[in-house]
Amino acid sequence: MATQAAFMPGAKVETLTFWGTVASWLTTVDHKRIGILYGSSAFIFFLVGGIEALIMRLQLARPDNTLVGAERFNELFTMHGTTMIFLAVMPLSAAFFNYMIPLMIGARDVAFPRLNALSYWIFLSGALFLNSSWLFGLAPDGGWFGYANLTTSQFSPRHTIDFWMFGLQILGISSMLAGFNFLVTIINMRAPGMTLMRMPVFIWMSFVTQFLLVLAFPAITVALILLMFDRFFGTLFYAPAAGADPLLWQHLFWIFGHPEVYILILPAMGIVSEVLPTFARKPLFGAPVVIYSGIMIGFFGFGVWSHHMFSVGMGPVADAAFSVSTMLIAVPTGVKILNWIGTLWGGSIRFRTPLYFALGFIAMFTMGGLSGIMHASPPVDLQQTDSYFVVAHFHYVLFGGSIFGLFGGIYYWWPKITGKMLDERLGLWHFWLMMIGFNVTFFPQHYLGLIGMPRRIYTYAGDLGWNFWNLVSTIGAFLIAVSLLFFIVNAFRSLRSGAVASNDPWDGRTLEWAIPSPPPVYNFARVPLVQDRDDFWLQKYGDGHGAAPRPKPAPVTAAEIAAIHMPSASHWPIVLAIALAVMISGLLISMYQVIVGGLATLYLMYKFAVELHRPPAGHGH
């Protein structure tokens, strides 16, 4: 692609060879390319997780089925959950953080570009490490939540849990590094005039998400470290015979796990908060309130974790406290839904694919929220927990919510990222088939849960009254798969021969629509000067209260572009990520590998740190 070569301002335009192109992607520190790397990887793992789901649904389509056995089924639901959460939804959100945050705050890159690249390569190595377990017949089988002491050596002697444990640690490092990066970027790299309250709501939701990432992951890091010590060094953290309490794992895990679900949903909520105003041609209704609600959800999200543990016997005081906090957190969530509806009300609505997905998000997430509020009551939850009712609930919020929202973002920002338009008709086929397929798959699961079907069972007897709706659910799953084919075809066609996208195909409101599609490597030829929220819209149209549209600025000169200095590519991120993976996987292979990998990691950290310490004059910064 000729555009790839025109990166450095003033550089000679040369087309790279195939290997040159590969090398440039492997050493990129450009947030836009890193975003594309995250997005493509995430989509592939989404398909992997989807296949795992389809196999499970095929097994459950009929009673007493023999497609897969119990052990394999354990592996499937463990990997499906782990993959969808850590390898699909989170990196898909990360793709948007990477690509869009600098653009929407008027910056040229993130605060730490090389660290950004490092985050991606560590993510990829963690994802590959985790999935390599399939090749060794050691796929994790302890559930995505790995409850101890099922996962201790006594009950899980094989290395399956170790793949899960170390995989998550690697992925955690990646997420936290990215979290620090985006926190500093959002606080410290905004364009002049962009105060915090003038930031787009997507940036705000991403901002809260970064806090959740850096504060929640340490808890699971500790939970996993304790498990690793139990499994490898004979400690007693999860050993009831020594007086330990298995609830320790559950508490530490859910102290992470609950903020994690907000990590999964807030970015999608942010996307919806951008899409609705654009396609309703109206500002977000009550933007400050939506922002404060997001902050409250993030903060109070740390106070509800034991609602995942209502059936373990914590006692009435704990149950009541967490029940109340859980019900309270529904308030800011509901407020946001009302504000989204308020945005649409009275708007001049253009129905395009991104809007359909945003509307789908609102409807499906609300349904998921309703089943969620039912779970908030401990006595009610005692029947629902560990049944298919919970499976229905979280798929409504995670698929109907996060995935729909993320697809909305994909359709919305595709023109900006690729410079091409997606086909509307194919988009609508994707949307409607996915909407119908999703509901056919998961709505009956509410009923199945209420009539007693438990989670995580690999088969069931034919005389329990579960047969019909399980079959229906499986059909729905395949409908979802078909809908994805429409998306994949759409994507390929668009990249190959789609209509060229202008800077601002949707008549948008935020800064990313002010620059070319795709943006040049330096994003903004001139750093924007921001005067209000939705500044780009105001530039175009004025505010209807006396502020006129602003005149087009003088064209950018070549001298201005030549003065822009972008960070240079670096090979240290990928090399360091590989060393880290070698060290950690050595824990399953040999101590020598751990030592060699560990020394290499330390050495490479040093090289990474001093790469820019005393750059030759005129070089990087």
Binding site: L183, F211, A219, L247, F302, G303, G315, P316, V317, A318
Partner: protein
Amino acid sequence: MADPHAAAQHAPEGEHASVKTYVNVAIALALITAMEVATLYIPGIPNALLVSSLLVMSAIKFFLVVGFFMHLRYDHPILRALFVGPLIIAILIILAVMALFSAFVLLPRVVL
């Protein structure tokens, strides 16, 4: 950063504590540590008093280091927020975990 003026440009936001202040803080820290250890050996001291005074003394040390050595007293409020917010969340979670595991003598485990 090939900029010889960077040091001056870098002059920290707000005033800087002097070397004298640092030494005074260090002396205070040493004294408080000595007091903490001494408190342990006071004969017959009621447990509640022992625990609360130790916590207060260590909190004072904690904030002396954070405020002066780490310069947070003179720094931009946003840095304070970045540290104190998570610190508060961490302390609240420790307290919640202690309650949930009946680590407080005052809140014995309630059995269903």
